[in-house]
Symmetry: C2
Subunit: 305 residues, 2 copies
């Protein structure tokens, strides 16, 4: 249950190609699922990879290019066919509401659960929402059209008191609360340090999603030291100029960024259809940042607690 697990549903750019679907991924934080982008075929991939779609409560849409949204109407309709009743909240750029409501209206879809769409226009890092399991912050990146990245951080858990400490010191309920809040315990005039009474606090895990974007022109300091960074790497660095013209990054640039930010792990994706194999992209990134993984449809990556 202590998952912090990313599943990639699609990682190609622009259109499906070479068995790679357009962009979509799911982050599972202790059983609560977050869908990030929703390219065409997202719901097929969910069936294939056994994603429990009814556990998705929030969807994040980075930008409105078709390869990130064309799976949304079908996904929303299917949830209704699957008798969903729980509300769903979708965050994305202005225009998302018109897109979704036009598609659902014209296709005369009957949606039996509540969909709330929150249109977000950003100029800097902004908290988006928080659940009991995680917080989501959005930040502007630099693409041809307004585009957001997302930083998801696990909610820090309260510290756990060691069971034998409770019995040894015959702690009262107010004392237990105080120790959980970080205080030391007083017994017979002696101060017992909090760390002797509690298990070490678990590190809060973190993940950032950065697509589509070129490397330059957006602030990245808030991503320093995170556990896992997904960054687009549409092209090899030999096509750097084309990448920039189109608002994209190269594999080398993504790796340089990961190194500069001192993240634990880099996942690249959003590959151009010109690459049948992604091997060269991964190898290029690994020359700079060895802990690079080439994302692929169906890839699952967990960060241990």
């Amino acid at each position: 249950m202590d998952k912090f697990e990313l599943t990639i549903l699609g990682c190609n750019s622009a259109m499906p190609a070479h068995g790679r679907f357009p962009t979509s991924q799911v982050l599972n934080v202790s059983g609560e699922l977050l869908l990030i982008d929703c390219g065409e075929g997202t719901q097929m991939r969910m069936s294939q990879y056994k994603i429990k779609r009814n556990q998705i409560r929030h969807i994040l849409i980075s930008h409105l290019h078709g390869d990130h949204i064309y799976g949304l109407p079908g996904f929303l309709g299917s949830l209704s066919h699957l008798s969903r009743t729980a509300p769903l909240k979708i965050y994305g750029p202005p225009g998302l509401q018109e897109y979704v409501s036009t598609c659902l209206r014209i296709s005369q879809s009957h949606i039996d659960y509540n969909i709330e769409i929150v249109e977000v226009a950003l100029s800097s890092l902004n908290p988006l929402f928080r659940t009991s399991k995680f917080t989501v912050e959005a930040f502007p990146v630099n693409h041809r059209i307004p585009c957001m990245g997302f930083l998801i951080k696990e909610t820090p858990r309260p510290v756990n008191i060691k069971k034998d400490a409770v019995s040894t010191y015959e702690m009262s309920i107010p004392e237990i609360k105080a120790v959980k809040a970080g205080q030391d315990l007083l017994r017979d005039g002696k101060q017992i340090p909090n760390e002797d009474l509690t298990h070490p606090r678990r590190r809060a895990r973190s993940y950032a999603y950065c697509a589509d974007t070129q490397i330059y022109g957006w602030s990245k300091d808030h991503l320093r030291g995170i556990d896992m960074l997904y960054h687009e790497a549409t092209y090899l660095d030999e096509l750097r100029e084309q990448a920039h013209t189109r608002g994209h990054a190269t594999a080398l640039e993504a790796a340089e960024l990961a190194k500069r930010l001192d993240v634990d792990q880099l996942i690249i994706g959003h590959y151009s259809s010109r690459y049948r194999s992604i091997d060269a992209l991964v190898e290029e990134a690994q020359t700079v940042f060895p802990n690079t993984v080439g994302g692929y449809d169906g890839m699952i990556r967990n960060i241990d607690a």
Copy 2:
């Protein structure tokens, strides 16, 4: 090159399930491709089944339910990524223009070829268009929302003169033209019958697509004796009442219709997601109409010339 070949890209109803995609199919008439309906994932299936999408010049949309149109924006965008320049014409119910243009506008898709959308509101059988290879007629069926069926007939080929007849009778160009037009030949006061001079005229092949519809409430006489009928069979006949309420047909009803119309071959599809296996549906139809085939994603069916 003398194909009259149907490829089923998707044949599930409402949503993808059990490996079956929503409705879409391609008819290849002597190398000219016609796309019928375009559910989500149509373009993925085209890659998988090696459909040459640039040979599609026309798309027919039966109705606006999501499982028949949600693949359209992605398909249109991908054609542009694939550098299409040839124009594309799409026929469908009123509302199709708004759907397509809203999706393409909000996703800021750059479409570099001409898309013409023809909105069709029918009250009876109507010719839709003709190419050098086939004609398309549309007819209203009976669903919950306006919905069309399509009848595609191969254009009759001109008769071919036997080569040895031309040399034996030393026929002139005007004589050849006259014989091709069906006339007999006069030689030495004798009349040589046209059928002695020409190969038999090839039968014009025909295919009709009927989804989504219940059996009752629409005229079917124009489908008598066609070669291949695709008819929806969403449910087993034990759910006949539910089928009618939802504007659908049962496998038994589809078979009874095929028998009554004396068609050569029935293909059923548009299965409810409640059926993991389609065997029972096919068996039910075959009790009444033995030459029934259960459509499946990737099925190819050619009618011989």
